[in-house]
C-alpha cells in the first residue's frame, strides 16, 4: 500500500552566522513523513532536532535543500495565500508551557488568536463555541476562558498550548519536547491526550524529543540525529531491536529503565566520532533494509548486514 507523504525534507541544510563564516547546524537531512503517522526526531541538545522543526514552520531560514509540504516547496518565497495555508496547516506545540503563553492575555484570547487572524468564524458566537469546544477536547472547562495563564498548572498550560494548535485544524503538528517540562504524573495525561486527538482527527505529528523511552511509546518511525546529521532512521520496532549506528546504540544504552535488575547489569556505551574511519570510503545515507536507513560507508554496511542476519 502506497502511503501518502505529507512532508518531505530533501538535502536540507540550516546554517547560522558565526564569526566571519557560518555554523552548519543541520546538514543533508532527508526524510519523509507520512500522513497520519507520528514521526520522531531524537537527539541530544545541540543536535539540530529543534532547528529542523523550526525550519519546517519557517522560523529558521534554510540555506540548502527543500522542504516540501503537500507537494509544494515551502522554504522559498510563497504567495500570500500559500503562506497563509502553510501557517494554518502546520502548527507547533512548544516545550515550556510556562513561557509559550502570553501572560497578559486571557485563555479566550490566546486560543482564538489564530481564528481571528484567519477569520475562521462567522459570528462571535461561533468563535466562542469553537474555543469552548477545543478547550473541552483537551479536558478544560468553559469557565476557564476568562482566566490568565498563571492561574493554571504546568499540565493545564500545556493543554492550552495543544488547544491553541488544534483549533486551527492543522494537518501537521510539530511537538517540540511537549512533555519534558512536565511532572511525571502529568506526562502520561498529555501523551494520552495527544494520541487520542491524533486518532480522532487523523493528525500527523513530528515529535521532537531527547527521551527514547517516551518516543518508543508514541512514534511510528524514528530518526536519530547527531551533531546536525541524521545517522539512522527506521520504524520504531526496528530501531529498538536492531539499532545499527553506534550512536543509536549508545543512546539506547543510556536510557534509564525503571527496572533495577536490568539497570544494574547495564553496560554503558560511549560514542565518539573516532569510531569511524572515513578516510578511504565515504559514508552516505543508505537504506539497508526496507525503511531502515543508516549513515555509513561500505565496510560499515558490510558489518551491519552481518549483524542483521
Amino acid at each position: 500500500m502506497e502511503r501518502e507523504v505529507i512532508l518531505s525534507v530533501r538535502d536540507l541544510e540550516v546554517s547560522f552566522p558565526k564569526g566571519k563564516g557560518r555554523f552548519i547546524a543541520v546538514r543533508d537531512a532527508n526524510f519523509d513523513i507520512y500522513k497520519g503517522e507520528t514521526f520522531a526526531l531524537v537527539g541530544e541538545s545541540g543536535s539540530g532536532k529543534t532547528t529542523i522543526g523550526r525550519s519546517i514552520i519557517r522560523i529558521n531560514p534554510t540555506s540548502k535543500g527543500k522542504i516540501i509540504f503537500e507537494g509544494k516547496v515551502i522554504n522559498e518565497k510563497l504567495s500570500a495565500e500559500e503562506d497563509r495555508q502553510v501557517i494554518k496547516n502546520i502548527q507547533m506545540i512548544f516545550q515550556d508551557p510556562a513561557t509559550s503563553l502570553n501572560e497578559r492575555a486571557t485563555i479566550d484570547y490566546i486560543i482564538s488568536e489564530g481564528l481571528v487572524n484567519f477569520k475562521m468564524f462567522k459570528s462571535q458566537e461561533e468563535r466562542k463555541e469553537k474555543v469552548v469546544k477545543s478547550l473541552a477536547e483537551v479536558g478544560l472547562l468553559q469557565e476557564h476562558v476568562t482566566r490568565y495563564p498563571h492561574e493554571f498548572s504546568g499540565g493545564q498550560r500545556q493543554r492550552i498550548g495543544i488547544a491553541r494548535a488544534m483549533i486551527m485544524e492543522p494537518k501537521l503538528i510539530i511537538a517540540d519536547e511537549p512533555i519534558s517540562a512536565l511532572d511525571v504524573s502529568i506526562r502520561a495525561q498529555v501523551l494520552n491526550l495527544m494520541k487520542a486527538l491524533q486518532e480522532e482527527k487523523g493528525l500527523t505529528y513530528l515529535f521532537i524529543a531527547h527521551d527514547l523511552s517516551v518516543v518508543r511509546f508514541i512514534s511510528d518511525r524514528i530518526a536519530v540525529i547527531h551533531l546536525g546529521r541524521i545517522v539512522e532512521l527506521a520504524n520504531t520496532a526496528d530501531l529498538f531491536l536492531h539499532p545499527l549506528h553506534p550512536y543509536t546504540r549508545s543512546l539506547l544504552s543510556a536510557v534509564p529503565m525503571p527496572d533495577p535488575i536490568s539497570e544494574k547489569a547495564k553496560e554503558l556505551m560511549v560514542y565518539t566520532e573516532n569510531l569511524h574511519d572515513y578516510s578511504v570510503h565515504q559514508p552516505s545515507f543508505v537504506e539497508i533494509t526496507p525503511g531502515h536507513f543508516v549513515w555509513a560507508n561500505e565496510p560499515e554496511l558490510e558489518q551491519y548486514r552481518e549483524l542483521l542476519k
Binding site: E44, D183, A188, R216, F217, I218, A254, V255, S262, L268
Partner: protein, 352 residues
Amino acid sequence: MEKNVILSVRDLVVKFHVRDRILTAIRNISLDLYENETLAIVGESGSGKTVMTKTFTGMLESNGFIAGGKIFFEGRDLAAITSNKEWEKIRGIKIATVFQDPMSSLNPIRSIGSQITEVIKKHQGKDGAEAKQLAIDLMNRVGIPNAADRFNEYPFQYSGGMRQRIVIAIALACRPQILICDEPTTALDVTIQAQILQLIKDLQKEFHFTTIYITHDLGVVANVAQRVAVMYAGQIVEYGTAEEIFYSPKHPYTWALLSSLPQLGIKGERLYSIPGTPPSLFNEVKGDAFAPRNPYAIGIDFEEEPPFFQISQTHQAKTWLLDPRAPKVEPPVAIRDLHGRITAILKGQVSK
C-alpha cells in the same frame, strides 16, 4: 549485617509562612540514613523532597521553619541549630549538596579554578600552590580532560555535563560524609546523565560517602539506589530496598507512579494517568492524603491517617490496604511483573 545510622530524622514537621497563611510542607517524617548507602527519594513536584533535605543543611527559605521533630547527626540535633556560624561547620563540609542546574550553582564571572580552590583554601587550610594542585587533581578525578589547561576557564566555556562535574568536584572538595544530589541530571542529556550517574557511583566507592538522590525519574532510581523512599504530599508513604519498591510495591501511590511510566507503555494503548491533583497543604489533610486519587481507597482512608505497616525488615508502607481487615487488592497488571515486562518490551515482544 549491622548498619550504622549516620543521620536520623524523627517526626520532622516543616512549615512555611505564605501570605499570612501557614503551609505544612513536611508532615511528620521519620527516616534513617545508613552509612555509605544510596537512598533515593522520589515523588511529584511539591511532594516535599527538596524541602526535607534542605533542613539537613539549614538551607530552608527564610519563610520556612522547622515546627517540630529532630534531625540527629553526629550526636547533635540539626533541627535545633539557629546560628549560621554553626551551620557553616556542617553545610558543605559534612553534608554537601549538588543542585539541578549547574549553571546557576556556579558563579558565572569567576574562573572554574578559583571556585574550587576557594573551597579548598577555606575548609582545608591549604595555601595557593598546594590548593591549586588539589583542585586540578579533583578536576581530573571528575573527568575533566586537560584539567590544568581548563583551570582558568569560566563556566560559560564548559558544557552542561562538564559544569555538573565541576559542581560535584566542589561538593567533594571537603570530603563530605553525606552528598545530597537534588535532581543532579535533570538538566542534562541522557548520555551525559548516564556518565554523571556512573561518576557519582565511582566516587562513592572511592570516598565512602553516603548519597541521597532526589529525583522524579524512576529510571534513575533503578540505576543508582539501594533504598528508596516514596514521598507524597509531605510524607513518606513507602520505604524499601530498590528491589522491594520496584518488584513488590505495596502503596497504591507507588503503584500509580510506576504504572504511569511511558517506559512501560505499550504502543496503541493508553498510559495510566493518576487522576486529580495532590491536596493543598494549606489545609489540614484528613485521612490518607492520596485517598481522593486512589481507585483502591476504602472508607477508613478518608477518616483516619494510616500507620506504617511492616512488610519486611527493610520494607514499610503507610496504607490501610495492609491492615489485616482490609480487602485483598492486587497491584495493577502492568506492574505485576515489572522485570518481565521491561525485558519483553526491550525485545519487542509486547504488542497491542
